[in-house]
Symmetry: C2
Subunit: 371 residues, 2 copies
């Protein structure tokens, strides 16, 4: 597939890390929440190897925060998601499918509970802020809903604990998965959570002071020299292997959380107040008619996947699903993919005909992720 | 400024015209409403000359539509905008600043009134759909709010009437500005409005059948051979000269319509029901404290403008505004720009110090656009 340049404008916002990212030799960007998201420094394969063995620093400032603060903050949060948020304590994060009144996915953010009456919603690529603000307005809730200037910086890879502890102290090793501590950097406390968009482990540092961006970046790069730290970005191969979903790619407003395999994050019966609850109750009981699956695609490395690729019943020719993310995996020696497959076809090992742009191929359904 | 490649994924959606756009040699894309927007085929300057003398076909499929249909459709539309929509008749379009409860700009779409109870909102780059859906939900309105598959194709330039009439018939010459006709193409009626994001005149064809995309593109290209028709895209130079604002670039949620110079599209007193009305009534009376202006920036061609460039009082050094779009204009032999300037400094001819990335420059305020 041909490659194209990205037009630049203020509308596609820079992060406070962008100058460092460019000095480090970024080659390609994606656009995410109207903001630059680094896409490649060397090659996806090289970065994949490095991510799985070392440690990387990712500018994910494009994970914008929605801050909800005030007396009705918890009520408003519960309106957004079928996950029961009552057990969530301050200091915890929760992966929260967020749905509209039909149960369709609007975003799949991490909710960070800062205090009983204060949350950050760390969003994927949709302007969820507009949904949250309008609900607060429509229901006359006593909350303030804003987009604060907070730019997450991710540190991912097996050496992440070593690196982050050198900058923030040994306490970071005690941070449990999806918990956060507030730890000082240049005299300013930063929220540091054990989380991130890879299966290799690591942290997300919620930078809320732009002027500390370059000192933080530099401190991590210097402290990690002998760990071979490098700038990086979410890696397509690693995320597809691990079946980390991407909003807009693998799921859209057309899909319920149950179709996305996110039923385990839904407590629809007890999530009283969720605006999608009525629509999701039956889905929660009956289960979905199609669902996210991993797939192995046979043959040579596939071309870049930029649109749904149809999956067909090889006998009847009927369309029974689609692939939405696919790439060659060096470790698994096959093309790994994520797709949505109809109920009758979603069992392990089902062999489907894939309509790829370069011709038909065989795709084999897997119930578990690759990694 | 260095150039970067655009990472591709399903999340950055293609339009039904994308294959033709790529076959025609597009070099750069922007991302707009999670969709590809062509950014350059040759050079901005070459395309500017051509746009001002000939005719171009633009894939603006990224101008997504929000369809609002039902008994409360007109009520919901009025909730969105301080423009009084009561005079708008079916068959008309209206430029409609859309604001939140604080009067901050959420989008600046064209509203297309298809029928008394059916509208399309042809949006700029924000997920306004989420705002509209949540208001409909919060106020229990009897409306259906959807994102239909409608992809506008613009035909812009002085030869636009000649070209479009060859494909759709002489009736198109009778379409008045911001009105639309329904005219058949391959047996299917398409909404064709006299509108578009240039000052050169032309049409926007609202294609609502994907399979007609390539026949429509080809028909226009074939019919316009002797008119020297070319594929094109919104031109940065031409739009800055003409002071066509760009949401996300020249205005954001931080700005009221009055700051954006859009007061003439606001009828805040009579726009009963607009959710931003309370906030805007005082602004409508007193006027804004800062406002959009054109500026001429002295010196050599400026570098690409990707962030606000501060404007200072040359005596006190105080920050008194910012430039948000800027480019060299071959016709005006100066750098043309759009910015927001504080009240005390916004009069014609005021000379301000601009902090450009390559050093300080003089900027001269203009009340009128260049073109």
């Amino acid at each position: 597939m041909a490659e194209y340049l990205l037009m630049r404008a203020r509308r596609i916002r820079r992060t406070p890390f962008s100058d460092r990212v460019e000095a480090a030799g970024v080659q390609a960007y994606s656009v995410y929440n109207h903001m630059l998201l680094p896409g490649r420094f060397t090659t996806a394969e090289d970065e994949y190897r490095h991510l799985k063995t070392r440690v990387q620093v990712w500018d994910v400032g494009c994970e914008r925060q929605i801050e909800v603060r005030g007396r009705d903050a918890a009520r408003l949060l519960q309106m957004l998601t079928p996950r029961d948020l009552r057990p969530l304590m301050a200091g915890q994060c929760a992966y929260t499918p967020m749905v509209d009144e039909t149960g369709g996915m609007l975003n799949d953010p991490v909710t960070v509970k800062l205090a009983e009456d204060r949350f950050w919603i760390s969003i994927a690529d949709s302007d969820l802020l507009l949904w949250v603000k309008a609900l607060a307005y429509g229901f006359r809730l006593e909350v303030d809903v804003t987009e604060p200037d907070v730019w997450p910086l991710a540190v991912q890879g097996p050496k992440a604990d070593d690196l982050v502890s050198r900058v923030f102290g040994e306490a970071v090793r005690d941070i449990r998965f999806f918990r956060f501590y507030r730890l000082p950097f240049h005299g300013h406390d930063l929220v540091i959570a054990r989380s991130g968009y890879s299966k290799q482990g690591g942290f997300e540092i919620y930078l809320d002071r732009g002027e500390l961006a370059e000192p933080l970046w530099d401190a991590l790069m210097e402290a990690g020299q002998d760990l071979q730290v490098r700038p990086g970005c979410p890696n397509l191969i690693e995320r597809i292997e691990g079946r980390l979903l991407s909003y807009g790619n693998d799921m859209t407003r057309e899909n319920t959380p149950h179709e996305c395999g996110l039923g385990r994050f839904c407590n629809t019966l007890t999530a009283i107040g969720c605006v999608g609850r009525d629509a999701l109750l039956r889905v929660a009981m009956d289960g979905p008619l199609r669902q996210i699956r991993s797939l192995a695609i046979e043959g040579e490395p596939v071309p870049a996947c930029v649109g749904p690729w149809p999956l067909h019943d090889p006998t009847s020719g009927e369309r029974v699903g689609q692939v939405t993310s696919a790439v060659w995996s060096p470790d698994f020696r096959t093309n790994v993919a994520i797709g949505m497959v109809d109920l009758r076809y979603w069992n392990e090992g089902t062999r489907l005909q894939l309509e790829a742009p370069d011709g038909p191929r065989w795709a084999n359904v897997r119930e578990a992720p690759f990694a």
